[in-house]
Symmetry: C2
Subunit: 163 residues, 2 copies
């Protein structure tokens, strides 16, 4: 059984951030999979990630709580689907831990695919948000996917350089 799947992108439904960053895949991986690191980079300032829980295996939990500048908290619970160290991380908001179906509560449900490839001394970083319909994709784009994920990636890189 091969774990690699080809993600056929659908430009109507998928949002993609691709960039080459100066830090190697293993540090990007550590930033994505260590709760203490995630809390430091995951949400663009002045938003904060105040809680993070990770059970790094297919079916395991990926939970965060984001706090707005006004102090409102937004919990997110998702489920890991694929975990290939230093290469690929997939999780979805459409399932709770243990693969339990989860319905949307006003927010666009998406599956996230993070792909890491060595690129010189750095990493070719690809983040894909996969949506079920155009409405969710548009909502996510309007919420600032590109700007938000880009700024968060800047924070990740700054953190990784200090690791």
């Amino acid at each position: 059984m091969t774990r690699t799947i080809t993600h056929k992108l659908d430009p109507q439904l998928d949002l993609v951030l691709e960039r080459v960053v100066e830090v190697p895949p293993n540090l990007v991986w550590a930033a994505w999979t260590t709760p203490e690191y995630v809390k430091k980079w995951f949400t663009p300032a002045p938003w904060q990630t105040v809680e993070c829980e990770i059970d790094l295996r297919p079916g395991g939990i990926f939970r965060t709580v984001m706090r707005s500048p006004e102090g409102l908290e937004f919990p997110n619970v998702g489920c890991y689907l694929e975990v290939i160290e230093n290469q690929k991380l997939v999780w979805t908001a459409a399932l709770k831990p243990g693969y339990r179906p989860q319905s949307a509560a006003g927010v666009p449900l998406f599956t996230a695919v993070i792909l890491l490839e060595p690129h010189g001394a750095g990493t070719r970083y690809t983040a894909i948000a996969i949506h079920g319909d155009q409405e969710d994709a548009k909502k996510h784009a309007d919420m600032g996917f590109h700007d938000g994920w880009g700024k968060a990636l800047d924070q990740l890189v700054a953190l990784a350089k200090k690791m």
Copy 2:
């Protein structure tokens, strides 16, 4: 990375069929993962499974079309999550192939876990349907989960004996 996860059952949300059958795990596996076999056992007669498409890997498609005795057709598209030959098969209706979120269209969304363990010359067979809320679990129970999945298993065993 271990692929085995413990499925913590929730009696309010999960439906379980457990039985020891006389055919070995590899034949049960073949019946579940070969389209031509699935069409022969998957729906209790007089219902029929008239189409089946299988791409047996995490992220791959599991698609069936069921036909009622009156000739109405009911398509189902799901996504495999775990594929461990002769031991464990997990797929969900909450995602389309490629892990794309899928919303319910009036039917209860569930994730199915099929566990196979050798038991003498046969198999300890466990099928679990995992739901997101009590309403979906009840709907699925009322649709005849236990009777339906039990009859389908009888058909699977009869088929496996002829393999």
